[in-house]
Amino acid sequence: MKIALPVDSNSRETGICPSFGRAPYFLIYETETKKSTFIDNSAIASQGGAGIKAAQVIIDQGATILITPRCGENAAEVITAAGIKIYKSASDSVADNIAAFTQGKLTVLEEIHPGLHRHGAN
């Protein structure tokens, strides 16, 4: 099973990024091998629709779980269409969140915010 988390940098010390769509990287954690990989979020420079594109990125990585502090409605629509479950991150630490998830301590993200659309509107 692959878990995706939005993160601020591609280093081991990185914290969780407060934005899903415009997170610079995604950390993909493989539960069987316990290996982590960093993926560039190509959506970060998008003029609009970043959440939709970021969702596409984690779908294409084969993630089945997303742990994130927040998620917009368009992104959530794509993510749930792909059958990915969204959990709310409990702290800023990647390791703590993965541990909490495996212990069944994370809750499903209920609050899907309306898009922060028109960031780079014309």
């Binding site: 959506a43 998008s46 003029q47 609009g48 629709g49 970043a50 939709i52 594109k53 969702a55 596409q56 779908i59 368009n74 629509e77 794509v78 993510i79 269409a81 792909a82 059958g83 659309h117 028109r118 509107a121 014309n122």
Partner: protein, 290 residues
Amino acid sequence: MGPTKMKIAVLSGKGGTGKTFIAVNLAAAAQNATYLDCDIEEPNGHLFFKPANLQSEKVTVGIPFVAEKLCTGCRQCVEFCRFNALAYANNKLLIFDEVCHSCGGCILFCPEQALTEKAKVIGEVQRGISENVTVLTGMLNTGEPSGVPIIKKLLEKTATDDGLAVIDCPPGSACVVMESIRDADYCLLVAEPTLFGLHNLQMVWELVRLFEKPYGVVLNKCLDGDNPAEEFCREKQLKVLAKIAFDADLGRLNSNGIIAFRANQKYQKQFAQLLQAITREVQHETAVNP
């Protein structure tokens, strides 16, 4: 002076400067005019004109529609769309109508012809009559990404009209403003006597020069004392066609939705003179730059 066929665009770098006030009164001052409210996100010229015999027409844009049986999941459309209006999840193409900018690229690129265009209403154009003025109002539905198609429709509707057309532009200098001034014969820049007003004047001044439009300035809400916008006009030799004084009576007329030209002799005279001055400028321009 007889009716001259010309299109005047009234613009400013920010809202609340007096574009609608100037545009409405200029149209009222002509023998026969069309007033176009291109401030499609919040058109308010109709509040002054209260046009009768309203007719409205919906404005639509084309957005993609997928025939799921034909889609093979190649994702060329997803990769093409720079607005990220498409995604592919669980063997299904998802289309986000409100993110789509109607460029039509996805439909062109689809190798399976699985995407076709469907019409989506984004707003409407209203047409009505107020004495000597035909009033055209563009209205964009909330949440739509771009009002340019509505402005195109408004301008299309005036193409055949004779007489004066006054284009009340949206504030700022973005795409919707560019579309509004594209066919204008003359641009009228409205400015307030503040530093912020000066900044906004510079923005639209840059725009009209970029479009190589003849232009003039109206200094609105003038008070005694410093007027940074006026100083700028003097320094850069921008032609000032009118100075309108800050006037509580005028504020009262405006806030009651009364057209100053039709209700007050002082403004009747001032706007008749402004219209004459613009007409002279346009005729001069046509003679110098045919």
